[in-house]
Assembly symmetry: C2
Homo-oligomer: 460 residues x 2
Amino acid sequence: MQKTLKTVLGSIVAPRGFRAAGVFCDIKRLGTGKGSEKGRKRDLAIIVSDVPAVAAGMFTTNQVKAAPVQLCIRRIAKGRAQAIVANSGNANASTGALGLKNAEEMASEAARLLHLPEQLVLVASTGRIGVQLPMPNVRRGIRKAVSSLGGSPEHAAEAAEAIMTSDTLAKTVSVEFAIGGRQVRIGGICKGAGMIQPGMSPTGQRPAAIVPHATMLAFLTTDVAIEAPALRAALCRAVAASFNRITVDGDMSTNDTVLVLANGLASNNPIRAADYRPSRNKTAGAPPVHEPISAPARVFQAALDHVCLTLAHMIVRDGEGATRFVTVRVEGARSVIEADAAARAVANSALVKTSWYGGDPNWGRILDAVGYSSARIAEEKIDIGYSAPGSRRIVWCFKKGQPTKIKFDLLRAAVAPRQFDLHIRLNVGRCSAVIYAADLTEAYVDFNKGDLSNPSALGG
Amino acid sequence: MQKTLKTVLGSIVAPRGFRAAGVFCDIKRLGTGKGSEKGRKRDLAIIVSDVPAVAAGMFTTNQVKAAPVQLCIRRIAKGRAQAIVANSGNANASTGALGLKNAEEMASEAARLLHLPEQLVLVASTGRIGVQLPMPNVRRGIRKAVSSLGGSPEHAAEAAEAIMTSDTLAKTVSVEFAIGGRQVRIGGICKGAGMIQPGMSPTGQRPAAIVPHATMLAFLTTDVAIEAPALRAALCRAVAASFNRITVDGDMSTNDTVLVLANGLASNNPIRAADYRPSRNKTAGAPPVHEPISAPARVFQAALDHVCLTLAHMIVRDGEGATRFVTVRVEGARSVIEADAAARAVANSALVKTSWYGGDPNWGRILDAVGYSSARIAEEKIDIGYSAPGSRRIVWCFKKGQPTKIKFDLLRAAVAPRQFDLHIRLNVGRCSAVIYAADLTEAYVDFNKGDLSNPSALGG
């Protein structure tokens, strides 16, 4: 973490002027009966800013886009929002015209009760695909949430809980830093677990070069003062290096969404569009990436990057059935696209992922996956090794296309921890890519083989 | 099966003039002690024709190619061969210059003992990656195999056993048909189980449009008289519709190899190069496919197609841990490449495969995978349904982008059998593709998490 960043309490309500709530309304249908909240799970969250905020979003590039995603893409274009309503237990995906109407009603009901213009309310959903939202529950949930909004860490924690599906832990983060002498905060919550290999873009359009690939939702709040184009550039950059770099099972969801609201209550000198410029390191076919060029923009970017990466890592660590967190680092590729392709081939290979689970330092499967990826390679130049997370003390098992003389026990020790880095050096170019990946376990298979006792389990 | 085809005994020794053997030489190192064959597994096979034969091959397009693959690609170019030597337990992949020398010695040792020119001997290996072949064992195995060659079905069965790795069943087929009044036979053996999504080409070069993706080995013999270019065209066509259409786990091996020897002893009027012409249905970027234009070529092609498809299906059914055989049929795509991409996205999705295992007719995950594939789609046009294998009586669960009213019990019944077809109609074009896929089970994960008691288990 940056020295200039301080961790604080409160996640999404840590920044000035934000309130949140997470309530029970039985969308998950796990209620044990009316009047009792035992055994039920929170399933509706609202986040609201006291004042209208600048807003930006990143959305799944899956061609099948859930209704709430379609609604957000349309509304976020104006760069303004004030509230987010999100539910778990139902993805509102593949639900046609009625689904879109329901997403709109979710927003308009919240807007009515919050006394906001409807256009300033964004929505998100996660859960089953292809089942219409139970609107009476949704309306009841929105009423409950609006009446229980608050600015305490407990309120934020309940909102984080309300967006969980197969997650075993609520995921929250918040940091504080200074811009021009003003104290600024960013907070965030997210959910993940399965169907996780996001490939998001600001419009949901797929850039030619991005290999597309859970539902993950992340909601970020900040009190920084920033112009909409700068916030959009900052979010695009932060997501490209975090949520778009993770994989649990290689499946990209119809609902992946990251939203950020920046309400300006920190009263810093606003970060302007001109504080960002198009990056000189352009990747052919990739979406335009902007880089911060002023000191305040750089400080903000670093903080946003940290928040997104922290949340993204939490998703991988809590992946369905996951026991390992592996950082796949490919270096020396001919292009960033090829580095990314090699890293994703390895990170999504069933054979590689099961060997991680088994604590087996199997470089043969890694080499095999690199070989069938679209990255151009020269077998005799490839190096493969392991290290502790972030360490450059690498235990090499494969050098210049040949196994090293390293003792098997040392290799086995390198892949025994819950978390390690895998280094793959192609040595044919100068480009690199990192993917954060989970292993593949019996628990994943068992969880996802489906619950046939529940006929509504038709979807994701 | 074609009416003109008759199933016969003998697999690779069913055609005239072929002998085979499969022996124990402890490459798999599972021996329980010298002198005893209890608990050991056959691990070296030889197939030999009494006379020089016309030969063709298809090889992995993985950029990492095992030594035997490199050797075969070079030798097959001349279109002549007389013997195949194959071992299991060691892939001779990523073994550098010594590996290539060992592959050559495998061939030359067999050639010496069989009194053949070295150039007429082809080799294949499957097993661990990155470990040098134990050449004393290989030489001992070749001596034993040459001295035990024979033309009985038992000899062929032992050869089929000797190429097995994680296969639970030996895989063999043989058929008889007539060309111009002459009785002709084709026989074949193969192995598969894991690291299975072959993408083979005649030269191991990857065509731009083919999505590359176990070790599978298949050896075919026939007594047909055919010219080398025609045999090559026939094999390319047969493999494109069979072995290149299967997936167990989405991982393409460094060793995938199909070899066919045609020794002409049926004495039919030879099938000429001119009996094939470039196919008019060309797929952009795909390798040239030739089609048979004479009656004899058509009969031969149909028989070869049947043999390859039968063996390919056996590989999927015996996939590591597999409990389901699902034929994924995508129709109505804008191009064959896109139909293939959609079918492979579905067939390789961890979430779809686990739902098959669970007997869960989850169309949401299928739609999700189609959506993130590179196939262009219009969600509101998509149909998804299930049928019995090969049947056009389809139970539709999804029509025009919306779930149907079908009862859940009927859907569940449709995906309960060990074998069913999944129909996906994109309805945006006229192109189609079929992929034969296995499910993903706890047994797959358990098998592949590795055997850490065996330090030589570094490779595939």
